[in-house]
């Protein structure tokens, strides 16, 4: 089955004052449960080797990264092929907890926004003060008319996660926002 899997918009690229690229296959697992519970923290730590993130933060290890989505939800990012195994391990570790685990890799699309002006590009689409975001932050918001999660993965790089059904819309938005000569220069 796996050799037929493709991401939402394989190889989709756009070049402007920042570069936009679809990130390809990305493993994603949603964990819902009581994040204040020690058992949940322990399960996440043991399976992903990541500490439980603070609110609106991302933690990472060599194996996976864990993003804080809401007071009772985490998004675990891992290699696409590792998702099933991590999901199963989390399920086992949380079997006695009031928690749910689901692989959502193929329900989402991921785009990379690379370049010093990534804040300027995203600021055109999202009602967010990007000066408040630093590497390791996650911000859930909307991009134009659809929901988006922005993961700040480096000083000059962010990732945007959206539902797969709106991947083309999101790509077109990002590509247009990145058009050379259209920099709002709010942050750079």
């Amino acid at each position: 089955m796996s050799e037929h899997l493709i991401s939402a918009l394989p190889e989709a690229r756009a070049e402007g004052f920042v570069q936009i690229a679809e990130a390809g296959l990305q493993g994603m697992i949603t964990l819902r449960g009581d994040l204040a519970s020690a058992a949940v923290a322990m399960a996440v730590q043991s399976v992903t080797e990541c500490a439980l993130p603070e609110a609106r933060r991302i933690t990472a290890s060599g194996k996976a990264s864990v993003a804080w989505m809401s007071p009772d939800e985490l998004l675990i990012l891992c290699p696409h092929e590792a998702a099933a195994e991590i999901e199963a391990a989390l399920r086992t570790a949380l079997s006695s907890e009031f928690a749910t685990v689901a692989t959502v890799s193929d329900a989402r699309a991921v785009f990379m926004v690379k370049g010093a002006g990534w804040r300027d590009a995203l600021a055109k689409l999202c009602p967010v003060d990007f000066s408040t975001l630093a590497p390791g932050d996650i911000r859930r918001t909307r991009a134009a008319q659809v929901a988006a999660a922005i993961l700040v993965t480096g000083p000059e790089e962010a990732r945007v996660i959206c539902f797969r059904s709106v991947a083309q819309y999101m790509f077109d938005l990002l590509a247009q926002a990145a058009s050379t000569g259209s920099e709002p220069a709010l942050y750079s």
């Binding site: 809401s70 007071p71 939800e73 009602p127 918001t141 909307r142």
Partner: protein, 107 residues
């Protein structure tokens, strides 16, 4: 444009990230209740000019419901607090009183 801070995730954003849910702290009257109570619960609203408590959902963010204390004449937001309460917390009431001394209080 209304700017709100979600007490559940700490994000401050403008209203398009949120979804309004109407007057807060309503007492529900369901099947079997008196017609007058049911009418009041379903339709009659304080609709005040001034201090107002209302429910909001951080729809594009953490997805949680919360309550905002807000002025309907100026759009000033006095405070936001989690929805798991039957009435405004004491510190919110104090905060509003300090800014609106004439406010008759939550009733």
């Amino acid at each position: 444009m209304l700017i709100l801070t979600c007490p559940c995730c700490g994000v401050t954003a403008e209203e398009t990230e949120f979804h309004g849910g109407g007057e807060a702290h309503l007492k529900r009257f369901g099947p079997g209740s008196e017609d007058a109570d049911y009418e009041s619960y379903m339709f009659n609203r304080k609709n005040p000019r001034g201090v107002h408590f209302e429910r909001w959902r951080h729809a594009y963010g953490c997805g949680k419901w919360f309550i905002a204390a807000r002025c309907t004449m100026t759009l000033e937001v006095f405070a936001t607090y989690p929805a798991q309460t039957h009435e405004p917390p004491a510190e919110v009431v104090t905060q509003i009183k300090s800014k609106r001394p004439d406010w008759e209080g939550f009733a």
